[in-house]
Every structure is written in C-alpha cells, then in structure tokens.
C-alpha cells in the first residue's frame, strides 16, 4: 500500500500527467494510421525523452505503447487494414462486421475488449507485484544470463515458419552488439581498422533505421494508397454490455496476454493465436469465426492489449526486454543511469507502481478519447501513404541526428533502413535483430560475471531458478523440433502453415 501511495505521489506531477496525456492520445492517433505503428513512433521520440526525467520519458513512451493498439483497431475494422501489426487478427471478424453494416458494434467491441485486457493485466501486476519483488532478487548473474538466453531461444522458435531467418537475424543482433572496442581487454572486434566502427553500433541508430527509415522507404517506394472516407454511426458504449456476455473469452484471452507478455521473446502474436484458438474451440458458433464473430474480436483485442503491461515485468524485474518496444525503453533507463533489475524492484517499488498506475490511467483516458473522437480519427487514416513516408523519414532524421549530430550515424541508419525494407518486403522479422543486440550485451556481461563466481559449468545447476530456466530452454527446443518434424511428415504442408 505504501508503494501505491508513493506511486500516486510520483504521478501527481504536471510533467508526468502531460506526458501521459500526450503519449496516450498520440499513441491512438499513431495506431490509427496504417504504416506507422508504435515501434516507429517510439523510435523517433526516444532521443527526445533522454532530456526528460526517467518517469516522464517512460510514461510518454508507455502511453504510446499501451494506446496504439486501441487506435490500430479502427482501420482494422473499417478498412480491413490493421493500424498496427498486432491488430491483424481483428480484421478477420471486424471487417466482415463492417460489411454487414455493424461497424459501430465491431469498434465498440474492440475498444471494450482492449480496455478489459489492459485493466485485467494491470490489476494482475499490481496484485502480484509483492511476489515479484520477493522473487526478483533471487535472480543473480547466472539466472539473468539464462533468462536472456531463453529470450533468444523463444524469439527464434516463436517465428514459426521463419525460425531460420529469425535465428540468423538474432545472431546478427548479437554480432552487431559485439562490434567495436570491448571494455575488458580493450581489443577491437570487427572494426576493419575503421575509426567509425570503434564505438560499435548504437542501438538507437539501428532501431531508427530498422523501424523508422525502413518504414518510410517502404511507403515512399511503393505506390500511393488512400482509403475511402467513411463515418461510424451508433452508440459506441454498447460494446461494454456485449463484452459482459462474453466475459469468459475476455478473461481467458487477457490471461493469455498476461502470460505471453511476461515471457521474453513471445508477445502479442502468440497470445492472440492462443486466445483466438481457445475462443473458436469453446464457442457455441465456431462457424462465425472469420465471418464477423464478436468473440473473435474480443479474443484478439483483449489479449493484445494485456501484453504491454506484463511485458514490463521482465524489463523492470530482471532488466531483460521481451520485445522491441521494451528494448527501446531500456535505453531510457540506461541514459539516466537507472539500472532496471532486481534492485529496482526491491528498492523503488513506488517507481514501479507509478508506471503501472500510469498504464491504468492511460486505458481510461484512451477509451474516453475514443468514444468521442472515432469519426475524427477516421480522417487520419486518409493520409496518402507516400506523403506519410516523407513525414516518417523527416522525423526519423530528428531521432538519429539529435543523438550526436553525426552524418555517419545517419548513413548507418540509412543502411539499416534499406536492410529493414528488404526484410519487410520479404516478410521477415525485424525484432530478432533488436532483441539480439540487447540480449547479446546482457548475456556477455552476465556470463562473464557468473563464470568468475563458479568453478565449473555444472554449477549452473546448483540453484533452483537456474535449473528451471535450463529445463525451460531444453523443453522449448525439443518441442519446436518435434513440431517441425510432425509438420514435415504431413504431405503438402510447409512448416509455416500452422501459424
């Protein structure tokens, strides 16, 4: 309770509240524009937050992260185009409802399910925070190294049908992190005698290249697309009543979101896949799925919106980001010399509570904003895509150049922009590179620290948490290989078909 009151005190600061408002409303607008998305927006804003207090900067980024999926549901339902990638599943049932003339019902369900998922996850986290505060300090170097390794393994196997590409890109991320002057023996690693490589690759530069500039290039090189204008008429509050009739689906889906958010490297897509499958299997009308089922929309939106709060757990408790957005947020901590991890959870629970409470407030803010501004937001989706590309490129420039006014940084970011464009065109994932960079650095430091404290590698097995994580790694790999083998035996299928 003391921590909650401390958290409220932190939040009662005009800068924090303003950041929360700007982040929440900005996140909805960004989410509503197909082709931008939270990662691009966060990447662009990241350097600007470095000059703010950590809680102010993080609140703004959290606002964007937590609210973009709400906005992403608008084009998913109305235009069959997801505003953010995680709204893709919402198109399956949202757009058929729009075609039936029930756009307001679909949007209302999406908003209420998102709200339910978000609040469910935050309440779970607030209730479990004391438990996490007890468990987190039991993670030493060995456990954090193994948790980061588990994150790498999971990010590879979670990309079913693309595991090989995810693997090579995750290792590329680890490689990028290792380039430059290392700080133990001061040797150069893969610098090819080039001075500009001595300081290595900055995470922000790579992130802005892969998310910002690449997205700008994709939009500018491709042909222009301008969706048809439309409006929504009807009561958007009704979805809350309908959601109550499907409370089982909403609760289980939110539960999947919480569980998948906590596990590094897994995230929204797996949560949605599990929720949607569960909802269809237990529905009285499974034939309606994909044709405008309310349960389908609830499963998709409740699960994806439950992920952001829980994704903060591995970041805050262990200092391990589970996906690209929390990896970006990690850099805000580093810039301010705040080290997320067991100590933060143990000593600054008020700070943690402030972040959770800000998520709670943002969900309320966003729903109120959406209920009254949906028709205005639909106009945002009308921005021509090539023009949008130009704006993203100019904004990405601010992000890269403001770091240290370096033309070299901009050239490197542009290089990663072209690389990101190729990956996006081929449908290959970008996230493993970012996670590889962040987790690679953590693994290097923590493995070195653990080896200094143990006599043989077998000492990894002498602590219960280490053993559990090692068993989890082995289980995940064996299960993945078994699935691949089973899919390979089925004639006429490819490994990715089951996704």
């Amino acid at each position: 309770m003391e921590a909650v009151i401390g958290g409220i005190e932190i939040l009662l600061n005009w800068q924090v509240l303003l950041a929360l408002f700007v982040g929440s409303v900005g996140g909805v607008i960004i989410g509503a524009i197909p082709g931008v998305g939270a990662p691009t927006a966060i990447a662009i804003l990241l350097p600007a937050t470095f000059s703010m207090e950590p809680v102010v900067g993080l609140t703004m980024l959290l606002g964007i992260y937590g609210s973009s999926m709400y906005g992403g549901a608008i084009p998913a339902v109305l235009l069959n185009t997801p505003g953010t990638p995680v709204n893709a599943l919402t198109t399956y049932d949202g757009f058929p409802m729009t075609q039936r003339g029930e756009a307001h019902r679909a949007l209302s369900l999406a908003y209420s399910a998102s709200f339910f998922g978000g609040i469910f996850a935050i309440l779970c986290l607030i209730l479990f925070a004391p438990v996490l505060a007890m468990v987190a300090p039991k993670f030493g170097s060995r456990e954090i190294f193994l948790a980061a390794l588990l994150g790498i393994v999971l990010v590879i196997v979670a990309h079913r049908g693309q595991a090989m590409a995810a693997g090579m890109l995750a290792f590329l991320g680890i490689f990028l992190n290792s380039v430059g002057l290392e700080t133990v023996k001061y040797t150069q690693r893969f610098t090819f005698d080039q001075a500009w490589l001595s300081s290595g690759f900055d995470l922000i530069v790579v992130v802005l290249g892969l998310f910002g500039i690449s997205q700008a290039l994709v939009l500018m090189v491709d042909s222009d697309a301008v969706p048809k204008p439309m409006t929504v008429q009807g009561n958007l509050f009704r979805g809350f009543a309908e959601l109550f009739r499907h409370k089982r689906v909403a609760s289980v889906s939110s539960g999947f979101g919480v569980a998948m958010g906590i596990i590094p490297g897994v995230g929204e897509f797996t949560a949605q896949f599990l929720s949607y499958t569960y909802a269809r299997k237990t529905s009285k009308q499974p034939g309606m799925f994909g044709k405008g089922s309310p349960e389908g929309i609830i499963a998709s939106e409740a699960s994806n919106n439950a992920v952001p709060p829980s994704a903060m757990i591995p970041l805050l408790a262990l200092g391990i980001p589970g996906e690209a957005l929390t990896a970006m947020m990690l850099s805000v901590f580093y810039v301010h010399n705040v080290v997320p991890g067991p100590q933060l959870f143990r000593d600054h629970m008020d700070f943690i509570m402030a972040l959770y409470l800000s998520l709670l407030i943002l969900n309320v803010l966003v729903v109120i904003f959406l209920l009254f501004s949906t028709n205005a937001l639909i106009k945002v989706t009308q921005v021509p895509t090539r023009f949008l590309g130009m704006t993203i490129m100019a904004l990405s420039f601010v992000g890269v150049y403001s770091l240290r006014n370096s033309i070299t940084d901009c050239a490197i970011a542009s290089g990663f922009g072209v690389f990101g464009l190729i990956l996006k065109r081929l449908g290959l994932p970008v996230v493993p590179i970012i996670l590889g960079m962040v987790l690679g650095g953590i693994m290097e430091v923590k493995l070195r620290a653990s080896m200094a404290r143990i006599d043989s590698p077998l000492d990894f097995f002498d602590r219960p948490i280490s053993v559990v994580i090692i068993l989890a790694i082995v289980f995940v790999i064996v299960q993945h290989l078994r699935t691949l083998r089973a899919e390979g035996k089925q004639p006429g299928t490819t490994a990715g078909d089951s996704v």
Partner: protein, 179 residues
C-alpha cells in the same frame, strides 16, 4: 537420399520474390565475416573461454552462418514465386530516397534546421508526384511543426545553421536557439 530430402522438407516455407537473392547475399556476408574471424578478433592468453573478447563475436558469426545456410536450403526446397528482378529493382529504388535523406542531413549545419526541413519536405513531396497546392501546404505545415516541436519546445540537440550567422542581430539569437 530420401531421408535427407525429408529433413530438407522440414525447411520448406513461403518463398516470396527475391527470397533467394537475399538468402545468398546474407550467406555471402556471413562467409565474409567468418573468413575474417582470425584477423578481426583477438584471443588473449590466460583468460577463460567465455571471458575471451573473441568469444561472443565468434559465437554470433558461427550462429549466423549456421542459420544462413539453413535459410538458403529452405529457399532452395521451397516453391518459387516469380518476380525476382522486379523485387530487386524495388529494393534499389529505395536508394534514391536514402540519397535525399543524406543530402538533407548534410545541409542542416549549413542552412539551419528549419530551412533544410522545409526544403526537404517540399522537394520530396514534389518528387513523390504530388502536384496539388494542398500537398505543398501540408508539407510546409508539417516541416514547421516538426521544427517547433523538436527544436523549439523539446530542445533536441541540432546544430546551428551557418546561414543564421548572416541574419540581423535581433533575429540571429532567436533563430539559433529555436529554429
């Protein structure tokens, strides 16, 4: 042979146009790094294996190489979708916009952030094929807004344009601080 074939079938996946070009290009990059492992990393005597400065670069290059080989195999055993050349041309076309961005970056310390951003926005809008005045109005408004938000309000770190030195004294300080 049939056993090898069944193992390779596991690697089958969707193969969009350009997939093989990318897979081979990435494999070539990995081989280049692998060939330079001896030169570009250092093994220090008297240190444990995992504490070696060379340990993680070696692990990452070997990991990349292994997965890149499997990715190429996956591409080769998967059904091809035509359009490789068009896709590669699409990738190359992005370089034109990269060039515009780099010219913009290069021009900021000379012209100043506001003039460079306005010029970049208007010229790229023209290049993208927009001809209606409303598009240029939107581009101008966007450029001014970006400068106001990031430079004037958020005070992000941007160099002062040399062009501002030639402004009247009363305007110079304002331009240097906020534009």
């Amino acid at each position: 042979m049939s056993r090898l074939r069944s193992y390779l079938d596991v690697l089958q996946r969707e193969r969009p146009p350009g997939d093989l070009v990318f897979a081979l290009g990435f494999l070539a990059f990995c081989l280049f790094l692998f060939a330079n492992l001896g030169e570009e990393v250092e093994w220090v005597s008297g240190m444990g294996l995992v504490s070696q400065p060379a340990f993680w670069p070696t692990v990452s290059v070997l990991g990349m190489l292994l997965f890149a080989i499997l990715h190429v195999c996956g591409s080769l055993v998967s059904p091809r979708t035509p359009g490789r050349l068009q896709e590669t041309v699409f990738w190359m076309r992005s370089l034109e916009y990269v060039a515009y961005l780099l010219v913009y970056v290069w021009s900021v310390p000379f012209l100043g952030y506001l003039p460079a951003t306005v010029l970049f926005s208007l010229l790229v809008t023209f290049r993208l094929g927009y001809r209606k005045p409303v598009a240029y109005g939107a581009a101008l408004l966007f450029a001014i807004s970006v400068v106001l938000i990031f430079k004037s309000i958020l005070q992000v770190n941007m160099p002062v344009g040399e062009l501002y030195e030639h402004l009247p004294a009363s305007l110079r300080r304002f331009a240097m601080s906020y534009l």
